[in-house]
Amino acid sequence: MTRRENRVGYLLALPAILGFLVFYGLPFVLAVWNSFTLGAGGTLFIGLENYRRIWGNTLFQLAAGNTALFMGTGIPAILVLSLLFALLLHKKFKGSRFVKLAFLFPMVVPAAATVMTLRIYLNGRTPGMALLVVLYIWKNIGFDIVLLLAGLTMIPGEYYESARLDGAGRWQSFCYITLPLLLPMLFLTFIISVLNAFKSFREAFLLAGEQPADNIYMLQHFMNSNFQNLNYPRLCVAAISCFLVIFVILAVMYGGWRLREKGGGRNE
């Protein structure tokens, strides 16, 4: 690629980069700054005091624990299930198009309608974590399936034919062809699943209100309460703590993937 082409590329990407910096980058920097301050406007610097207080706060610990439990069960479950359904739907069969569409239907159902229906079934009972996980999977599995189907379509059929000629079984083909080649798409699906998991607060909020029972009290509830009580620094600390955890997980996964790619390259 020539230098001129490079420059054109950057120029074309500039609006998006600027938009990202103005609407995400700058607010993020401001949020980081505010997490070290007290009160409105971020004028009184207090160092790590907010972090010390919040990490020691029992309610934050409860919220973080519940959020971790929700993501720790919901995300692996949605990834495994969506992979399973994607593999099944990858094979053409009568009505496969309809089934694919059916998986996407929950995405267009308004959260309020879903919650209203669920309330009838709950009949006054308190919703539990399991229900939130099921709701999350039901709502988002369609999109994950579409992503993984796209990934599966990109794997050349010749690889499987060649493997079959060499005597590889289905399981071996899956382990040595499908899974490694699907890894970039799985990684993308994982990131999107994490983002969608954060959006599940809407359902929890509609189901159990601003102050739900302890077992479904999530980080977003904590942040929402701090917004209502005008405690921006605490809100920022909670958000940044969240970001740090996700960042570390993603960095470890990305690092692992890169290492694997390099290792694979050397083996070749």
Binding site: L38, A40, G41, T43, D214, N229, L230, N231
Partner: protein, 436 residues
């Protein structure tokens, strides 16, 4: 070309210079955020302040009374406040505007937590420098309610107490339970004619029990240490059993003898009521005011209106001087006292909006509250002594509002199994609120 560039640069410099000049002469503006009912007062005091300080201009922003508009306004304001760009002064009610059909959201959901959040200006230095301010002129316990970690962030303007006026006949009955009073209230309600589909409570002093513990329960939250001051089970028990007056003739008892109860019930239903708000002036001469006390003999109260300055305020001295006007005896006022005009579901204490300044009370009762005390010879000593006893004052908050909702649900459903569940929910809510 060089000439053109030079001209452009010169123009730019001139523009910047003119901007600097303008900012030097900028008018001092204080933005006051208040409720509809306080807007006139806020404007009047702004005019008064401008007599001495004409360079300060005021912009009074009133929160909408329309539910949807208000919600949008509050969201915007909260965001602005958090970034330090909110109003300079707040003159607000602790639980939203009163006397609305639908309870409207207050700007500060929980004033105690807003103090903790650090968005309000600490007023101690300004108060100390203010020679005209004498703390002893005000009810200390009420001023204390506006402090957090020793600092004064909020100036309470008025407060409420849960009082019951007891007719002299009440001496005849030694004790009762909260549930017995509930029955009496219900009976009182049945007897009266509904007004605009809302039961009109006439002489129903008994109903005060409901609001009584709304003042007490939030006091159990220790915001500074992020915990509840009692065990959750104990709070649940308190709520379940109801809290009763601890005056010697209103003892907290677990049950009432059936015969005594029926006697009392009959008297209330068919005879003269024992517990009633006074309708006639002479009843004030014979009756007594009973306040809600805790075990240490401290009387409960809660802040009704308050004034505060935002931490981002660019004119803190001027803002303090302005909010101080609300506490001056000349401008202190109490609310209307609607004896015999208490709506069920929105029952307020006998005396609401008690001015925090001691010296204005008599004038308030005689001149402002209107209606029931006009006689200048009326002995009010006992009322003064009760008002002075206030010792534990809370700033009403989301806990109060949640408590009201739960209590209304309990009252409506009248189902004990639900009651237990609701109490559990409420205690859980308090626990979360304390720790958040």
């Amino acid at each position: 070309m060089k000439y053109a560039v030079g001209l452009v640069c010169l123009s730019a410099v001139l523009v910047f210079m003119s901007g600097c000049g303008a900012s030097g002469q900028k008018e001092k503006v204080l933005t006051v955020c208040t409720e509809n009912e306080f807007a006139d007062m806020a404007e009047s005091l702004a005019d008064y302040y401008r007599l001495q300080n004409p360079e300060v201009r005021f912009k009074v922003v009133t929160l909408s009374m329309d539910e949807e508009k208000r919600e949008a306004e509050i969201k915007k304001l909260r965001t602005a406040i958090m970034t330090g760009a909110g109003p300079d002064v707040f003159v607000l009610s602790t639980d939203g505007p009163p006397n609305t059909e639908v309870p409207l959201e207050p700007l500060f959901e929980n004033t105690a937590k807003v103090m903790k959040a650090g968005v309000l200006l600490k007023l101690d230095d300004y108060m100390e420098a203010d020679e005209a301010f004498h703390r002893e002129d005000y009810v200390e316990a009420v001023l204390e309610a506006g402090t957090f970690e020793g600092g004064q962030y909020v100036l309470p303007i008025s407060y409420t107490m849960d009082l019951m006026y007891l007719d002299s006949g009440v001496e005849g009955i030694a004790q009762w339970t909260s549930s017995a009073l509930d029955v009496l209230t219900e009976e009182t309600l049945r007897e009266t004619v509904p007004l605009l589909e809302q039961p009109f409570l006439k002489n129903a002093g008994t109903a005060q029990l409901e609001t009584m513990w709304q003042s007490q329960i939030p006091a159990l939250i220790d915001y500074e240490n992020e915990c509840l001051q009692m065990e959750e089970e104990e709070i649940g028990r308190m709520i379940a059993e109801g809290t009763t007056f601890t005056k010697e003739n209103l003892q907290d008892v677990t049950s009432l003898d059936a015969a005594d109860f029926m006697e009392m019930y009959d008297k209330v239903r068919y005879g003269n009521r024992y517990f009633q708000f006074p309708k006639l002036e002479d009843q004030y001469r014979s009756g007594r005011f009973a306040a809600c006390e805790n075990e240490d003999g401290k009387v409960y109260g809660s802040v009704q209106y308050f004034a505060a300055v935002g931490r981002g305020c660019k004119l803190p001295q001027e803002a303090y001087e302005y909010i101080r006007l609300f506490l001056l005896p000349e401008f202190q006022t109490g609310g209307q006292v609607g004896v015999g005009e208490h709506y069920y579901g929105n029952i307020r204490p006998l005396h609401q909006e008690i001015p925090v300044c001691r010296s204005v009370r008599e004038g308030w009762l005689r001149e402002i509250c209107g209606g029931y005390i006009r006689n200048e010879d009326l002995p009010l000593e006992e009322l003064w002594s009760v008002l002075d006893k206030v010792g534990v004052v809370t700033i009403r908050s989301d806990v109060n509002r949640r408590l009201e909702e739960v209590w209304q649900q309990i009252g409506r459903d009248n189902d004990n199994s639900d009651k237990d569940k609701l109490i559990q929910e409420l205690v859980g809510f308090m626990d979360l609120t304390a720790k958040e």
